[in-house]
C-alpha cells in the first residue's frame, strides 16, 4: 500500500476544519479549500504510483463497495431469489431480478457479508457447490424469461474445503460455465474486487467483461503463485506483477472490454460515485448487446471464447 499516513493526517485536518466552520461559524473556507486541494493532489500522486500488489490490497479493502449494498446502488428494486432447488442456499453467491435503467435484468453476485456473522457464513465470499447450482438456476430463469444477465464478480475463489469437494465443486463450476456460455440472452460481467480463478470465471464468462480500475482477475492468488512457483510467501508482490492481474494489463491483453475508473484513492472513498460510474457503463453495454439478434449474440460469444489465446499459441518454427 502506498504510504497513507500523510493522507490520513490531512484528512483529519480537513475534517477538523470543517467542524470548526460548522460549529464555530468561523470564516475559514479559504483555508479549507487549500487544504482540500492539497489532499486531492497527494491522493493523485500516491495513486499514480500504485503497484499491482497495491491494487490487490485495494481490491480486498474491507470498505470496498461490494455485495448486496453495491448491487442495490447500481440496480433498482433488487428482488432476491434463494436456493438452488437441490437442497441448499449459499449466502456467498446470491442473485435475483432487478431493474436496470428501463429493463428487467437477472443479477448474480458474490457476497462477503456486511456483519461479522454474515462474513463467517459467506466464508469470505468463497462459494460452495450449492452457490454455483443456484447461479445455474438463475441463469436458466434469465434464459426462459429473456432477461439480460448481469454478473458482479468478487471472490477470492471457490471454497477449498472438504464439503465443497464432497459436493463436486468442480462439476458445479463446469455446469455454470456451460450454462452461461450458451445462454440465449445478453450476458455482462463486471469484476468489482477480486476475480479469483474458477470461482470467478464460473459467472464471468460473458459477452462483455468489465473491470473496476483497481479490481484484479487472476488464475491464482498472488500468495498461491508465490508459494507454488517462488516457494516463499514473501514473493506475493512479485507474483502479483507477473500474473498480469490488473485491469490495465488485462485490457491490453484484450481479456476485458472496459475499465471503469474509480474515485482517486479507490472505490471505497466514494461508493456512490463508483456505483454511478458502474451503472452508466453497464447501461451502455446492455444497450449495445440488446440490439443484437440472439443468433448473432451467440455467434459473437462463441467466437470470442473459441479463439481466446489463439494468438498466444504460435505455430512451431523449424
Amino acid at each position: 500500500m502506498p504510504d497513507e499516513r500523510a493522507i490520513r493526517i490531512l484528512e483529519e485536518k480537513v475534517a477538523e476544519l470543517r467542524r470548526m466552520i460548522e460549529e464555530g461559524g468561523l470564516e475559514l473556507s479559504q483555508e479549507l479549500e487549500v487544504l482540500e486541494q492539497r489532499l486531492q493532489q497527494l491522493r493523485r500522486e500516491q495513486y499514480a504510483k500504485l503497484s499491482d500488489w497495491d491494487r490487490v490490497q485495494l481490491a480486498r479493502h474491507p470498505e470496498r463497495p461490494r455485495g448486496l449494498a453495491l448491487v442495490q446502488k447500481v440496480c433498482d428494486d433488487f428482488y432476491e431469489l434463494r436456493g438452488d432447488r437441490l437442497g441448499g442456499d449459499d449466502p456467498a453467491l446470491r442473485g435475483g431480478v432487478a431493474r436496470l435503467g428501463d429493463r428487467p435484468v437477472a443479477v448474480l453476485f458474490h457476497e462477503r457479508g456486511a456483519t461479522p456473522a454474515e462474513q463467517r457464513a459467506c466464508r469470505g465470499g468463497m462459494p460452495l457447490p450449492t452457490g454455483y447450482r443456484k447461479a445455474v438456476r438463475i441463469m436458466r430463469l434469465a434464459g426462459r424469461l429473456r432477461l439480460p444477465l448481469v454478473s458482479f464478480v468478487d471472490t477470492p475463489g471457490a471454497y477449498p474445503g472438504v464439503e465443497a469437494e464432497a459436493g463436486n465443486i468442480a462439476g458445479a463450476i463446469a455446469d455454470c460455465l456451460a450454462t452461461l456460455l450458451t445462454l440465449p440472452v445478453p450476458t455482462l460481467a463486471v469484476i468489482l474486487g477480486e476475480g479469483g480463478s474458477g470461482g470467478a470465471i464460473a459467472i464471468a464468462a460473458c459477452d462483455r467483461v468489465l473491470m473496476l480500475e483497481n479490481a484484479t482477475y487472476t488464475v491464482i492468488s498472488p500468495e498461491g503463485a508465490a508459494a507454488i512457483l517462488w516457494k516463499e510467501s514473501s514473493a506475493a508482490p512479485q507474483a502479483a506483477q507477473a500474473l498480469a492481474l490488473s485491469a490495465a494489463r488485462l485490457r491490453k491483453l484484450g481479456v476485458v472490454d472496459g475499465v471503469i475508473p474509480e474515485p482517486v484513492g479507490g472505490a471505497h472513498l466514494d461508493p456512490q460515485a463508483t456505483a454511478q460510474a458502474l451503472r452508466e457503463a453497464l447501461l451502455g453495454h446492455l444497450e449495445e448487446l440488446a440490439s443484437l439478434a440472439v443468433e448473432e449474440l451467440l455467434a459473437l460469444r462463441y467466437s470470442r471464447y473459441r479463439n481466446v489465446g489463439i494468438r498466444d499459441a504460435k505455430a512451431k518454427t523449424g
Binding site: 460455465l177 456460455l181 489465446g309 498466444d312
Partner: protein, 283 residues
C-alpha cells in the same frame, strides 16, 4: 512428486520417470527393481506391490489404441509466453525443459485411432509437461480435438492428467476453461459422445471445466479427482481430510464418476461402452 500411499486402494503413486532409456526401473513405493519390459507388459504396474507408475501420453495412447491405427493430429503449436512470465526461473526455460523431457511441444497429444476396432478421436494429457497444466496451447489443442471429433462424427475420448490451469499464462489459462467448455457444446449439439477418463491427477481448472462435462466418466483406480488440492484444503481450512479423500472410490461414492476401473481393465471397459454406443452419432 512425493510417494502417496492410499490404504483403501491398491494404487500407490510413484515418482515421474524421465525419458532416459534404462533397463531397470525402481518402484518408489516398495523399492523393488523392476525390469522395464516386465513393467510395460504389466501395464506399468509394479509386479511386487501393485503401485501404478505414471504413464506418459504416448504410453497411454499405446495402451488404449489398436496397434498401427493411431494418427497424430496434434497441431504444431507452442506457447509464445504471452505474459513474459518469470518466477525463480523464466517460463521459457521451463517450457524448453519440459519439451526436452517429454518430446512434446506442450502438455497434450491429440489423435485419431481405433479402440478395439471403434474409431475415436482422443486427447491425452501429459502430466510430465508442467504438471499437465492447461494454457493457451492445451486449450487450442483440446478445441481442435473436439472439432475433429465433430467433423469425423466419432466419439471423443479425453484422458485427463492435469493439476489445473497453467499459472504462467495467467488469466489466459483461466479463459481456456471457457474455451474448452464452449467447444464441448458443439459435441452436444451434434450428438457426438464424449468419454472422459480421469487419472492421477484430475484437478483444478481442467476438472472445473471440460473434464467434468463428459457424457460418460471413468476413473482409473487410485486417480486423484477434485478441484482444490489436498494441501490447499488443509492449509486454508485446517480441516482434517477423510481417508481416501478425492480418490477414485471417493469420487464414485460422491456421484462424480460412473465407474472406477483398474488400469489393466480400462481398454476393455471403454470398448464395452463403445460397443453399446455403436451407431452414435448417427451418420
Amino acid at each position: 512428486m512425493p510417494i502417496r500411499r492410499d490404504s483403501k486402494e491398491r494404487y500407490v503413486e510413484v515418482e515421474l520417470r524421465r525419458g532416459e532409456e534404462t533397463l531397470w526401473e525402481r518402484c518408489r513405493a516398495c523399492g523393488e527393481l523392476v525390469f522395464r519390459r516386465r513393467l510395460k507388459e504389466n501395464n506399468y504396474i509394479c509386479p511386487k506391490c501393485g503401485a501404478y507408475f505414471f504413464l506418459t501420453a504416448q504410453e497411454r495412447v499405446v495402451a488404449l489404441i489398436d496397434e498401427g491405427t493411431f494418427q497424430d493430429l496434434t497441431l504444431p503449436l507452442e506457447s509464445t509466453d504471452p505474459l513474459s512470465f518469470s518466477d525463480r526461473k523464466p517460463y521459457r526455460d521451463r517450457l524448453r525443459e519440459a519439451q526436452e523431457t517429454t518430446g512434446l511441444k506442450d502438455a497434450v497429444v491429440v489423435g485419431r485411432g481405433k479402440l478395439a476396432g471403434h474409431p475415436v478421436v482422443l486427447a491425452v494429457m501429459e502430466f510430465r509437461f508442467i504438471g499437465g497444466s492447461m494454457g493457451t496451447v492445451v486449450g487450442e489443442q483440446l478445441a481442435h480435438a473436439m472439432e475433429q471429433a465433430v467433423e469425423a462424427r466419432e466419439p471423443f475420448l479425453f484422458v485427463v492428467a492435469s493439476g489445473g490451469a497453467r499459472v504462467q499464462e495467467g488469466v489466459l489459462s483461466l479463459l481456456q476453461m471457457a474455451k474448452t467448455v464452449a467447444v464441448r457444446e458443439q459435441l452436444a449439439r451434434q450428438g457426438v459422445p464424449y468419454i472422459a477418463v480421469l487419472t492421477y491427477p484430475s484437478t483444478g481448472g481442467v476438472m472445473a471445466s471440460l473434464a467434468s462435462l463428459a457424457d460418460f466418466t471413468l476413473a482409473e483406480q487410485g486417480a486423484l479427482i477434485g478441484f482444490a488440492g489436498p494441501r490447499v484444503i488443509e492449509q486454508t481450512t485446517g480441516q482434517k481430510l477423510p481417508p481416501g479423500f478425492q480418490r477414485a472410490q471417493y469420487a464414485l461414492s460422491h456421484g462424480v464418476v460412473d465407474a472406477v476401473v483398474p488400469r489393466e481393465g480400462l481398454k476393455g471397459e471403454l470398448a464395452h461402452l463403445l460397443d453399446i454406443l455403436q451407431g452414435v452419432p448417427s451418420a
